[in-house]
Subunit: 494 residues, 2 copies
């Protein structure tokens, strides 16, 4: 990524973003002005007559059009309304142009970068045997082999950017050097990230070859990673450190208490897992009888150690009690819903509607490699499908709509990572973290449009239907460009 | 597709296919000899030393190597064992070559070609409202507009071929002309298919603008389509007609009885839906009290009309009773499991392990557009995931493994479409219906390998792990070539 800040930019076309949990807004013929040095959206001009309105805005902002980079995504000869509805314009000789729109970058609220090479590998395991069989050996190997860590992390960041992930909350490994490398790679590649060194020091559950010696060592190593991240990105504008106790069963009480104090004293975000699997829930109850007793449950353990605040991201939250959900809501802690993972390793089906109803903020996590896919679009698709399994066992109203899962993937995620109002939508004052999506249009003879992946637009679809097609059949081929803070960080080779 | 039969061919490399429900066989350094005119596998030479063994086989078959087309997929300078395990050979300057293997073509045992443009569009609907809102209007429109039918069917056949579907059991529409067009397109593009005109004549459930007038008209139209398919492919070597009562609620008793007689008299396959959705099950009980009574259930209705035989494919089978499963097993009828569809339109979670335990043959169906994806690989992935939801509500043993869902996608499907022992595996005497799969390998610097889609091989994986990665992150980009009956019918533009 270039160190030079980009120039002022104007993006012109259709913008789609979430306005509310169940509402996507469609802004057609719109121009969004992004200030170069800060990546901030400074103007959103809707339904604009390009020549006149752009000039007015340039004048108002004091910008020179000549010095701006202008991305005009409207088809060359289109009329003023949606090109996608102009089926009769399609020519037989040249393939129809794709339908294009800007969408906010996705936010992955839970992903283990270190486990990326194991994506898709989990057999018939469930959480606790999966950790020992597949996960700990791979994570430990990255600490012993810096070249391997670089290869794995570089690929993971490049892949998630290609999937439109403009911000990720990463678990790295126990190792300080490898964790710091992940920070450096996120900065180099321009991805917004929270990066956490994994804290685990409980000898009863963590292998001797992969853990912190004790709470003091865990704290010290965590401080080293916090310091590195703060040196690398002093303002935390792109990358921030995050306190990361793996999960209660892998941490001693002393460790969690120390990490809770660190997070409070330093104003740091916290990420961990909660109530993913029934065996794990039982294990927590047996390991922390005092903290989890009296109905406090698994979530109560984190609360007892000062780890539950509005800067905390809890992954999974599948088997929570009413009391735990109320506690999480009361503390303002966030939930990362990881549907691919929860189905793949047979953890359960999280009740997202129920959590939202309790006032809990929810985002989506790929949870690579409990989850098999590093794509938040895949996570959103599976969130819709898993919600239907929840509905089959309960209330019809538990189903999540296209609009709702895309809300979780953007605005919901932004709330989880402490960037509510900063990213996840197209509004003046927010940052330009965005993706340009292209959907292929089928030619009159049934050909064409193949370059943009598996979504086939026939031309008669409504915009709502095209977005549904993207959600259910889209992939990284549809994400043609990705920006973070106004910087182009991924461009698809066509 | 060329009308000239291909020459004799030899395929060399790694072949992976299903040997049993829970077993994939890995044939490395193997050569498979395919006879040109018939597309039949005439020799499988394992662990062959290329120069010597190939010559011996050429001599035995009386073939001339010079007149053969030879596809050697082994990497140029590889040693005798798997290239994928040679991580240290990877060069920094050139991207590592992909890992390649042949896999049997997929069999889609249930897909509505006419609904292809609606893939991904279903909102929060369930079966009966989904039919009226999304499905019937689209299907009916293809009968009124031949150009639209051609565009939709051409795209559907091209897409499914690109996904590695070498054989599909298609529902077309009520319209004779459009159904015949689908037959012609499958033949032209070289896809093996069962093509069925949809029979529906029950005025109480079918709109006046989209149904057969009565049983007699339905039978006559069906006969026309059967005759067309038989004229187009007299031996049925590629395309065969299939009797297709939509489902019991859309057919009068007279119609089902007539279709049952037609299927028996003409030796035709039958395809329909059974027990997809609870509301539908109740509807069948109320429409056919006599036939479904006494525990006969929904499946009993088809049996009463002579529609349940070992040539019958029943899609879904989500809510069957023990007695129905026993009846289906007793008749030798087949089940098409459609996990994407069952989750998407909230039908339920079919108990595949339970069906297999009853002795029922099961294949996979994409069920476009109740299912959102035309890819059988997607269906296999979702079959694994949905089985985990079944397991969460029942027995741990209900989970389906990677090996099992890929068995359903190939051998299981072959049994459903009446091609057991003909397609679905690599054995002497079987047809060469196959795909060449390529998985990208990550370079030492974390780059490379992007052309082959989202699967990232790091080089240390076992073959079993690479296949799991393909199942969970693969897509049509990994399917680089597809053959049916020895003919190359799809080649990926790289």
């Amino acid at each position: 990524m270039s160190a030079t800040p980009p120039p002022n930019q104007v993006f012109i076309g259709t913008f789609i973003h979430s306005k509310a949990l169940d509402e996507l807004e469609y802004l057609h013929n719109t121009a969004i002005f992004v200030e170069g040095p800060t990546g901030t959206i400074v103007a959103v001009e809707r339904e604009c007559d390009k020549t006149r309105r752009l000039d007015e805005t340039f004048n108002r902002l004091g910008w020179s059009a000549a010095e701006c980079k202008i991305y005009d995504t409207t088809p060359p000869s289109s009329s003023s309304s949606s090109s996608a509805q102009n089926e009769s314009d399609a020519s037989l000789s040249t393939p129809p142009p794709p339908v294009r729109f800007f969408f906010p970058g996705f936010i992955d609220t839970h992903i283990h970068a270190s486990q990326y090479p194991n994506a898709g590998i989990f057999g018939k395991s469930t959480l606790l045997d999966w950790l020992n069989t597949y996960t700990f050996p791979l994570e430990a190997s990255l600490g012993r082999d810096a070249a391997k860590a670089r290869r794995v992390y570089a690929r993971c960041v490049a892949r998630t950017l290609a999937h439109g992930t403009t911000c990720a909350a990463y678990f790295a490994t126990v190792d300080v050097g490898a964790t710091n490398l992940l920070v450096d790679l996120c900065l180099a590649k321009g991805q917004r990230a929270l990066v956490g060194r994994v804290c685990m020091d409980e000898p009863a559950t963590c292998p001797a070859w992969y853990r912190d010696e004790d709470a003091a060592e865990g704290l010290e190593r965590t401080r080293e990673c916090v310091a590195h991240a703060r040196r690398a990105d002093p303002e935390g504008g792109l990358v921030r450190p995050v306190v990361t106790p793996r999960f209660a069963p892998s941490c001693t009480a002393a460790s969690m208490a120390a990490l809770g104090r660190l997070a409070r004293d330093e104003g740091l975000a916290v990420q961990t897992h909660v109530s993913e699997n029934k065996g794990e829930v039982d294990l927590v109850a047996s390991l922390f009888p005092a903290e989890s007793g009296g109905g406090a449950g698994y979530a109560g353990v984190y609360d007892a150690f000062g780890l539950l605040s509005d800067r905390t991201i809890l992954a999974h939250a599948v088997h929570l009690s009413e009391a735990e959900a109320a506690l999480i809501a009361g503390r303002g802690a966030k939930v990362s819903h990881c549907p691919c993972s929860n189905s793949a390793i047979t953890s359960g089906a999280a009740r997202v509607r129920w959590l939202l109803g309790k006032g809990v903020d929810v985002g989506l996590g790929t949870d690579v490699s409990g989850g098999y896919s590093p794509s938040v679009l895949d996570a959103a698709r599976q969130a819709a499908l898993v919600s239907r399994h929840v509905a089959m066992g309960g209330e019809e109203g538990d189903k999540l709509s296209v609009e709702e899962v895309l809300h979780l993937a953007t605005r919901g995620g932004a709330r989880c990572v402490g960037l509510d109002g900063v990213v996840g939508g197209f509004e003046v004052g927010m940052q330009w973290d965005a993706q340009l999506v292209a959907l292929g249009v089928v030619g009159e003879d049934g050909g064409g449009g193949g370059g943009e992946g598996n979504v086939d637009v026939f031309g008669w679809e409504s915009w709502e239907e095209m977005v549904a097609k993207w959600l259910f059949n889209g992939d990284d081929r549809n994400t043609t460009k990705v920006w973070v803070k106004g910087r182009l960080v991924h461009e698809r080779r066509s």
